[in-house]
């Protein structure tokens, strides 16, 4: 490296301008590919302009629907998806070595056309339809009219729930997400171990079909009755696998056409022919090289997303791609490590490029800046409990610092035998301001999976992030296809309803039970008892709704492709979304959680212990949204105990609340008969719910951003330093008190410079591990940089922040979310 270059790099490091450093250090290919991406995530809650919705497939979708209208749901779905795959335009980005997209072009997101609510959303959203606008509006309108005459998922499903439950769920006050869809769990142990690929699975399916066909024309008996439907399902799975192979071969042909007719650079020609060979091989047959392995994985992810929206991206790339990496880079030296990093970088960029039509305001506002919470899991242990970290773990982290995508992000499974080099790489990513990896405590979470869901240890050890936080095995009976996090609670409403006797003044509905006029409460236990009732009601309702959604999913939105890559579906002929054969891995996500213990502590201290205020006075203030009560409000903010300060007063209340929920989590069951533990975390739900949650006793006004989630202290309210935060969190039992607990921390980039900074951070992490916490994630970016980015966003396009369970480019989130992140306490360690 030239001296001038070293000096330049050093200057960027001094100024924490990691994005310029990345641009200089990454290869020309990665630089091009990274810059060729059109943003797909919602920017500040709105689709990123100038991204457009492509309407070219709406007629084809209708044509296929009409053709296959009377087939059983799974088979119809397969034929329609296969028909679209056969005709959807494909493209290969210049300089790409990996291919496959769910879009028809780099700057559009395909809309297949629906009626109902999503039709209105597409119709009403500004700046998303292609010109000429009048023509696009006419198409959307006519397509909507057609689909409104067909039976929609909503129409089919809406009457399945208890009407009161679903009305309250859809009020927008207490829930997040839909009770169907969002499935993304993958049975990696079935299709990613190198033992089989699509042709092998087709062979297995053919055997099942042959056996079932023989049975269905044999002597009549009850046992053969289910086989009639399952034959259709197997056929559907086979249709999808064959369609996937054909689709990949289209890319192979395209690469060959470009190479032979349009490419004059011999090196690029060779690359394109290699792309062609790769796509001829995978996904039909198991991968043999790193390029084939990554391409195989990517094809599967895209096929799954073309089939249906997937809200997350569970993956363990350093574990499942390690055999091919080891062979290509270490053993046979077929490619250099730098060439491998180019492939890995492109693999991440391809994922970042995946776009979708937002499902609704809750999605685009709760997930600002991204298209889904894609958390890839690195490190950890293998099924035998041995360290699974390897050179590919390092390569992924090094590559992340070069490509600087905000999605996917990583989570690193730490365990006591992790070697120092992996911690260093993890720290470097954080220091470079990526906001990831988050760090997970592997022994704690394996024990947690065994405790709550009864996963055997070997299966628990295979775990990946189901979405942002919750571990899920990747095994035949352990994989849960669905996030089940649409049992997502706007938890702050639990305490709000204590003070409104269950009435919601924002959505104007009697939501929760009438737990008594709060003005008449004479002691704290009455308040707490009312809180428990509101909590049990809310969680019970959400779980009932999601359970019904899961129960009905295969009827209303079947998944033939996801089933085709899942062992228990290939074996049984059932849709993968059917609960039969699954052990269960559900959890209730608790957004806006810490407001509960903070508010309860404030009431206990200032009303009942110190008797400084009466319940009447507090209720008056809350009803007025604290207007005219500013001095009182500040008392509740500053002088009531707050979580995160190692204060037993409030910490005991936090633990008590969590244990009440944990108790209930064992009483309620998912469709597999398994438990529903609680998992406090957030995405940008704290902003999305800001004007939905009313005034609270922690001093919050309606409209103020809620806390940033999980068990993170309120921004600026943790005043005793980082160890105090950890000690508070350590009073929770991270195995038995819930599923997992998100902790955001913000660190100083200046304090944590150099080797000294790393040692400080390592010491912090030792305390974290000793206290038995399961999760922590970091922002390491200064207020100066963030304020400068607010002022001149064009100059700071590449600054990334950890929002909550995901990262986003700072300029892509709303001002309110930006301010909320800036408010978070910078911990000096």
């Amino acid at each position: 490296m030239a001296v001038a270059e070293v000096k330049e790099f050093h200057e960027y490091e001094e100024k924490h301008e990691w994005w310029w450093l990345a641009e200089k250090k990454r290869s020309k290919r990665l630089d091009y590919l990274r810059k060729a991406i059109w943003k797909k995530g919602a920017v500040g809650g709105h689709p990123a302009s100038p991204l457009k919705y492509d309407l070219s497939l709406v007629d084809k979708h209708i044509e296929l629907w009409e053709k296959h209208k009377y087939e059983p749901p799974m088979l119809r779905k397969a034929h329609i998806t296969a028909g679209l795959l056969d005709e959807t335009p494909i493209f290969i980005t210049d300089h790409a070595q990996l291919v496959g997209s769910n879009q028809t072009s780099p700057s559009t997101v395909a809309w297949l056309g629906v009626g109902g609510q999503q039709n209105k959303i597409v119709y009403n959203t500004p700046n998303v339809l292609p010109e000429p606008l009048e023509e696009s509006l006419r198409i959307v309108h006519e397509v909507g009219q057609y689909w409104d005459k067909q039976e929609s998922i909503r129409d089919k499903l809406i009457r399945s729930f208890d009407p009161e439950d679903i009305a309250k769920f859809m009020s927008g006050a207490i829930a997040w997400g839909f009770p169907v869809g969002g499935y993304s769990g993958k049975n990696y142990e079935y299709f990613m171990t190198g033992k089989r690929a699509f042709e092998d699975i087709i062979e297995e399916i053919d055997k099942r079909i042959e056996e079932a066909e023989e049975a269905t024309i044999s002597d009549p008996r009850p046992e053969i009755l289910p086989l009639y439907d399952r034959l259709h399902n197997w056929e559907a799975m086979k249709v999808m696998l064959e369609a996937g192979i054909r689709w990949a071969k289209r890319y192979s042909r395209l690469a060959r056409i470009i190479a032979e007719n349009f490419e004059s650079d011999p090196k690029r020609k060779e690359e394109l022919l290699r792309v062609a060979e790769t796509c001829d091989r995978v996904p039909a047959r198991p991968p043999r090289t790193l390029q084939e392995s990554l391409q195989y994985d990517h094809f599967i992810q895209i096929l799954a997303r073309i089939e249906q929206y997937e809200g997350a991206w569970p993956a363990r790339p350093d574990y499942y791609h390690w055999p091919c990496y080891k062979k290509d880079v270490i053993n046979e030296k077929n490619i250099t490590r730098d060439e491998a990093i180019e492939l890995i970088g492109e693999f991440m960029i391809r994922a970042y490029d995946v776009g979708l039509i937002p499902s609704g305001g809750w999605g685009s506002e709760g997930l600002q800046g991204i298209a889904g919470t894609w958390v890839w899991t690195l490190g950890g242990v293998d099924q035998n409990g041995d360290d699974a970290c390897n050179d590919l773990t390092l390569a992924f982290m090094q590559t992340a610092r070069l490509v600087r995508v905000s999605n996917p992000t990583f989570a690193f499974r730490w365990h006591p035998r992790v070697q120092d080099q992996y911690m260093r790489e993890t720290f470097e990513c954080i220091r470079h301001g990526l906001g990831y990896p988050s760090i997970r405590n592997d022994p704690i979470l394996i024990a947690n999976a065994m405790y709550w869901h009864g996963h055997p240890m070997e299966e628990a050890r295979t775990w990946v992030h189901q979405a942002c936080m919750s571990p899920c095995p990747t095994t035949k009976h352990g994989t849960q296809p669905m996030r089940m996090a649409s049992a997502t609670a706007n938890s702050a409403k639990m305490i709000e309803y204590v003070f409104t006797n269950g009435y919601d003044p924002v959505v104007n509905m009697q939501m929760g039970p009438k737990t008594g006029a709060p003005r008449k409460f004479t002691d704290f236990e009455q308040v707490f008892e009312a809180w428990v009732k509101q909590m049990r009601w809310m969680i019970g309702l959400l779980v009932r709704v999601v359970n019904v959604g899961r129960y009905k999913q295969s009827e209303v939105a079947p998944r033939p492709f996801l089933s085709a890559i899942s062992e228990r579906s290939v074996e049984s002929g059932l849709d993968f979304t059917e609960p039969e054969g699954e052990r269960g891995n559900a959890w209730v996500t608790g957004f806006t959680w810490v407001e509960n213990p903070d508010s309860l502590a404030a009431v206990k201290k200032l009303v009942f212990d110190d008797k400084k205020y009466t319940m009447d006075q507090l209720c008056d203030a809350l009803e007025a949204n604290w207007e005219g009560y500013e001095e009182m409000r500040l008392d509740f903010v500053r002088n009531a105990p707050k979580w995160g300060n190692d204060d037993d007063y409030i910490d005991a209340i936090m633990v008590r609340c969590l244990r009440e929920i944990a108790k209930y989590g064992k009483e309620i069951k998912d469709p597999c008969g398994n438990n529903w533990p609680f998992l406090p975390e957030n995405v940008s739900g704290n902003i999305h719910y800001a004007n939905i949650v009313g005034a609270l006793p922690n001093g919050r006004r309606r409209g103020d951003a809620l806390y940033d989630g999980g068990i993170s202290p309120g921004p600026g309210l943790d005043k005793k330093g980082p160890t105090a935060v950890l000690k508070s969190c350590g009073k929770i039992n991270h195995i038995t008190d819930g599923r997992a607990f998100l902790l955001n921390q913000r660190l100083s980039p200046t304090q944590l410079k150099g080797e000294k900074g790393y040692q400080l951070w390592k010491a912090y992490m030792r305390t974290w591990a000793d206290l038995g916490l399961d999760h922590v994630q970091f922002n390491m970016v200064s207020d100066e940089t963030l304020r400068a980015a607010q002022k001149d966003p064009e100059k700071f396009q590449e600054v990334i922040v950890r929002v909550a369970g995901y990262s986003a480019h700072f300029v892509d989130i709303s001002r309110k979310t930006q301010d909320n992140i800036i408010q978070r306490t910078i911990q000096g360690i």
Binding site: I158, Q510, I687, A690
Partner: protein, 121 residues
């Protein structure tokens, strides 16, 4: 009326089930000067991001489209209406104050999603 029947009504209005689905392009494009979407009493809902919201004054059973008006102000559930429902005859219409700001802000108090048709106001 049984509990289920009562809540069937509410569910249908929130989810748009049974609501007249066939609208003309012109009906979809309209943006009345006194639309519910710009009334202070209109609360939005990210679950019905298509433009529905609830009224904090009128309750389920009200109808501000028909003549004579049906105004129900007692009950436990707010009336579900659309952002571009014409509130010209509604006695409770209270126009919100507009702030000229970028439509990329979200979830501030009294935030209104900027539906495309609102550009006509």
């Amino acid at each position: 009326m049984s509990r289920r029947d009562q809540w069937n009504q509410v569910r249908d209005s929130i989810a748009g089930v049974g609501v007249k689905k066939e609208q003309t392009l012109e009906e979809r494009e309209k943006m009345p000067q006194k639309a519910c979407g710009i009334c202070k009493n209109f609360s939005e809902n990210a679950y019905v991001h298509d433009g529905r919201g609830s009224c904090s004054v009128l309750k389920v059973g009200s109808n501000i489209d028909q003549d004579p008006l049906v105004l129900v102000t007692e009950g436990e559930t707010g009336l579900i209406t659309q952002f571009n429902t014409d509130g010209v005859r509604c006695p409770y219409f209270l126009k919100m104050d507009f702030i000229d700001t970028s439509n990329e802000e979200c979830s501030d108090p009294a935030f209104r999603r900027s539906h495309r048709q609102m550009e006509k106001l």
